[in-house]
């Protein structure tokens, strides 16, 4: 009796959070859906169709490609860096890398773009000092953007994976060795499977971060590299064509669907990789 009363009281405690969720997610979602399926005041799928054609489709594909590449590269490189830090005998190095990762994982937007433009842009310090321009170097393309996105993605993966790597017990490696396993066999049969839930989580996080990034790309490449977030901004502000605000909303819906698809792949994988935890 008392338990159920306590439970119902504790539900009230969640009310402010629920109200907040409804306001910041529910209301924009309704507006987004309403706008997407409205064309010139009537119910229509024309915006959605347009968002999946021509330059818009190219931008969506470009964003998915860039995000997937950043997620995979950032995931692999971040995991290797995290492992190096975890196994290092120098405590100070670990602290330094983790502190730097905490800062760099949150370094984004125009300041990040400016830092890179000033360093490796066409007139950047390193570019001019080393004469990289003569060798065809350019930061303002797909690969340049990938590099810049990795700058905050790798630290984010480090922060995600270090706790999981810390959880790998030394006894497991020794027990594997004792059973005749090589280092590779330990990682193949034990280390990587144990880490997989954390690795997958990290990769999905990186994908999401890169997929939704806007300001850095806007400041660096403008419309040179087709990205969906840039197209949404253009359509909303009437940068190229006016009256395309609802196509922007349709592109946002496309992004939600892509994120949903990523989760649809991620969740079964995550569940499968973590079945030994249940």
């Amino acid at each position: 009796m008392r338990d159920s009363r306590t439970r119902s009281k504790s539900r009230w405690a969640a009310l402010p959070l629920l109200v907040f969720v409804v306001i910041v997610f529910g209301v924009p979602m309704l507006v987004l859906l309403g706008g997407t399926f409205t064309k010139e005041g009537t119910l229509s799928t024309a915006n959605l169709t347009e968002s999946l054609q021509g330059a818009y489709l190219t931008a969506l594909a470009g964003s998915v490609k860039l995000s997937a590449l950043v997620a995979v590269l950032g995931g692999v490189l971040g995991t290797f860096l995290a492992q190096a830090v975890v196994t290092s005998r120098f405590r100070a190095l670990r602290e330094a890398v983790l502190t730097a990762s905490g800062v760099l994982a949150n370094f984004g937007g125009v300041p990040l773009a400016f830092a890179w433009i000033a360093t490796l842009g066409n007139s950047g310090v390193v570019t001019t000092t080393l004469g990289l321009g003569a060798h065809g170097w350019s930061l303002y393309n797909f690969w340049g953007l990938t590099l810049v996105y990795l700058y905050f993605s790798i630290p984010l993966q480090v922060l995600t994976v270090v706790p999981a790597l810390d959880g790998l017990r030394p006894q497991w490696r020794e027990a594997a060795q004792n059973n005749g396993a090589s280092t590779w066999q330990f990682w193949r049969y034990v280390g990587i499977p144990v880490l997989t839930p954390a690795l997958l989580g990290g990769v999905v996080l990186l994908f999401g971060g890169a997929f939704s990034a806007y300001a850095t790309a806007q400041a660096m490449v403008g419309s040179t590299v087709p990205l969906v977030t840039l197209k949404i901004a253009d359509a909303l502000t009437g940068n190229v064509l006016i009256g395309h605000e609802n196509v922007a909303l349709a592109l946002s819906l496309d992004m939600i669907v892509v994120a949903g698809l990523v989760m649809a792949v991620y969740l079964p994988l995550q569940r499968r990789s973590a079945r030994w935890l249940r």
């Binding site: 017990r169 006894q171 497991w172 020794e174 027990a175 594997a176 060795q177 004792n178 059973n179 005749g180 396993a181 090589s182 066999q185 049969y189 034990v190 499977p193 144990v194 030994w276 935890l277």
Partner: protein, 360 residues
Amino acid sequence: MNGARVEFRGLRRRFGSTVALDGLDLTVEPGELIALLGPSGCGKTTALRCLAGFEQPDEGEVLVDGADITRVPANRRDAGMVFQSYSLFPNLNARDNVGFGMRVRKVPAAKRHARAQELLELVGLPSVGDRYPHQLSGGQQQRVALARALALEPRVLLLDEPLSALDAKVRVTLREEIRRLQLSLGITTIFVTHDQEEALSMADRVAVLRDGRLEQVADPATLYDRPATPFVAEFVGAMNHLPGLVSGDRVTVLGQTLPVEGQAPDTAQADVLVRPEAVLVTPDAEGDGIVMVSSFRGSTARLRVRLGDGTEVLADVPGHDSARFAPGTAVRVGLVERPVLVSARSETGAAAAVPEPDVV
């Protein structure tokens, strides 16, 4: 399975300024179960890890059946090991944990599973094959770890305090099973423990280590009854330090003159080392001892008796007699007539070796 002969020769290992092993020499005979016993930091685990290949000694050699394996990588040694705890691979079920070594050696799955099941039955867990480690109790996990260690039919079994994380009842059951298995398989076994009861009850011989050196290696009865050094005497079992007066090869203690076991010290004033069970206590209103504390332990009760001169003596009496020795009872104290170990007088003099709880 046939056990191998294991030899540690002049093993030295240093960690920074700490000397973990300081010239350890020890031979383990084929099929023997030897316990490495000692306090924390005495080097017992380091010795075991040198044999497993997880530590490289700075000096000395480890030989198995006469072959020097000191530099052989850990994954190529013929030794199965059970770790202290939490060593099962969490992502593999019990059957796959046991079959891990066979999987590494590319044994076909059907054969591997059959052998794993056989081993699980051997350790008394025929129906847990599909369970993951977190679904097993501590005792079950250690049994699975034992099965895994035996899966590749090693000639040496290494046990690194495998029972220390278990509750008392499971500990006793499992140690009996380990011993039964070891005897039936005839596998040479080295068992690291800091628990003297475990060492004495399981091992053919017990090696007591202190500061990386071997203090004594002997069968349990000899170790207990005839400790070679005062350290062994104190570490294995409880020990009284009673003031005595040495004269030739005899010593006078508590008014009795007893023969000295081994070498007598040069000084006349000495500490006489006497086990609580070698102290005879009789209720006597005229006796010069008073029972201060009585600690009931089931089959026995341990008494702390204060004598007229302030000396405190630990004595064991049968548990069913404990009611006769309530605190405050006047008693007469004597010693069993047999040779006693004598050491040079320590500062603390007659203090009991092992502090007893104030349980009445």
